[in-house]
Symmetry: none
Subunit: 215 residues, 4 copies
DNA sequence: GATGAATGAGATTTCATTCAT
DNA sequence: AATGAATGAAATCTCATTCAT
């Protein structure tokens, strides 16, 4: 089974980046952890150094300043970790053959709900950065733009051609699916989520209400 | 037509709070504006004082410390502004008679999409606080708990009894609707939203795909 | 019986000062109380105003600034209260006829020990001001200089002429007596003082060891 | 001859404390100097930093806050400096053999009067802290409790056994001696002290009046 | 390179003092 | 005269950043 935990994946991505020293990597890991749980502004560089087990000055040997450190923390998330995540999603879920639209939808929802559950802090960091950091928002946009379209569109077309799915646009599908995922994240945030399998089942059925051809 | 702009509503709420002085109100307004646009941590109290046109010490005459100021900023949002918003939503949208489910859904979506559009910065503040401030999250939860259920449930039951709507639970309806609103907020955040009327039309149709009875 | 409590005496002195308004007097009383217990620097003017039950601005209507207020607090202590104290000491103790030196010494010690006990906070203020405030030190000096000499000297001379007392200088007597009083104050400060009558008895006997003619 | 200047002794004590950095020591020295001359409340941390020749922030790197700094200033005074002072007093004065009570008393008075004269500002700080700082008062008490009794009592007993001294209690001796020292400090404070040798002679004779057996 | 003590700009906070009402 | 809200200078304290070792 493939790894779906962002932090572990993140560390794997880091270890592959040969231009980063061990020290840099430990700083990045510590920063990811603390930025996630406390927010960027509320985390001090000395706290990061302590968590990373390095001297406070060493943080600045590697990263010009705190903002640059944030960029360096977020960069591998896109250039490595998230890319891996996307690829795995494609390989293991989108590219598989499912006997029916129902099973396909449920597989995608299951895959992502578990992902959200396991990577809750990192997602919290990403979302809060998206809300407050305009530069970062730009990077997210560049990363996701068309990232999925070429993967998802063919699958959708196929179900639509089979008349298993009604003819709604790619954008609309993304909107519904994205709304579903954010809703699940919100439920987790507020402690309102029930058993994950029950949530998967319900959310899948809701999506299918919109996706199934209306006769 | 009633006012739906949060900042204006916020000021109206403030003006009704007789226990607040003019100075307190101007500080609260300035703080709301700056916290919204820059975040809580990134806003200094002297910046707030400057924006409010008062002396830096005056902020502390009125509010014990910066954290208390944040509480004081957010309190009227819930105890006044958001309450007004909820009440207006009830009076003007939920309690009106609509000839059909389609028109009802479209009316609700239109109402909220315009609201989101007009109150974008305040919503951004609320969402980022929800993500990073656990205490605040608790207050939000208390405020919204069952706030809608007693307003929305009867309307849904009615449409479901008429067989204009399929039998999905209140929770599921909320999840779909909440996902729709968040998606629209996200589109605005990323500059991806098209013409608001087109967005309303599309999002309403998507919801209706899920709400309409599947024959 | 005469009043020996400094604060009460202070209030009496104030009430006789017709150039002071009621408001001024209440501020002075409050300031005396707070400066005594907390020290001058550690007491804020708004705290004084609150204690006095007046508006904070009113303090400044009466006294140019905080330092001036301290002067105004201390002035009546010398110009009225302490003068009264000195006069009473003279009238009731020094000028009385005592059958023996022993009884005279014990009467003076008793009188002052009770005075110290009852006016502990005010004395604490005076001492701490003497230590830290050079201007004030000057005023104290002016006040006490020769204040006692003309009262005490005749009495001493008389006992010395009678050969009830050995021939030590006025300065030496003052030094021994002052040392005795400060020691008692110190014992009270550190919670080491025993029953006041026992302390009076012991301290009187110690003084008498030095005063009695050595055969 | 051994060093009896508190500030020099203080610096010596500091230099022996290996857990203190040079910077900490210079801050402590500066703080002692300024607290002594101006009082605790009237001294700002930036003033201390300037006097110590360090950056303002460095004060807080070493000491959590201003109150902690005061504690850190006073701690070596008791744990080192005053202890040294007490030990030297014991070694050089109390434990020496003197031909008579007269010479013993004069030696002790001389020793302490010179000590008071040389360490006037530090003593002023200690006294003003004793008056205004309750916590500090407690520490002083702990330090001095029985510190002297076991050193002084045997010497007194010896003189009393020899019938060179009358039988007054240890407590009474301490009271007389303490009163003598405080009186000399007071004279210095008010600029009333004469030549130190004359003061020593007079004060010794006064004490001896009380100590000598009354025939 | 790594360290962590030292820096100093800037943030939060306090409070003596002023002034419109 | 009395008020107390408002002021702003200065104090305490924090923390991103630098630099000698």
């Amino acid at each position: 089974m493939t790894e779906q935990n962002l932090v572990t994946l993140y560390e794997k991505t880091l270890s592959e980046q040969e231009h980063l020293t061990e020290l840099q990597k430990s700083v990045l890991k510590a920063a990811l952890k603390l930025f996630s749980s406390q927010g960027f502004e509320a985390t001090s560089t000395s706290q990061i150094a302590r968590e990373a087990g390095v001297a406070s000055g060493s943080v600045y040997k590697q990263f010009k300043n705190k903002k640059e450190l944030l960029r360096a923390v977020l960069a591998p998330l896109f250039q490595g970790t998230l890319q891996t995540v996307v690829n795995e999603l494609a390989d293991e879920t989108l590219n598989k053959k499912y006997p029916s639209l129902d099973e396909f939808v449920q597989a995608v929802v299951r895959d992502r709900f578990y992902f959200i559950q396991e990577n809750f802090p990192a997602i919290q960091l990403l979302l809060s950065q998206i809300l407050t950091n305009e530069d970062f928002r730009g990077e997210v946009q560049v990363f996701f733009a068309q990232q999925f379209e070429h993967m998802l569109s063919p699958v959708l077309s196929q179900y639509q051609t089979n008349q298993e799915m009604n003819k709604i646009s790619y954008d609309n599908v993304v909107q519904l699916v994205f709304g579903t995922f954010i809703s699940y994240f919100g439920k987790l945030l507020f402690g309102l989520a029930g058993d994950v399998e029950k949530e998967i089942e319900e959310s899948s059925q809701l999506l299918l209400l919109a996706f199934r051809p209306q006769k």
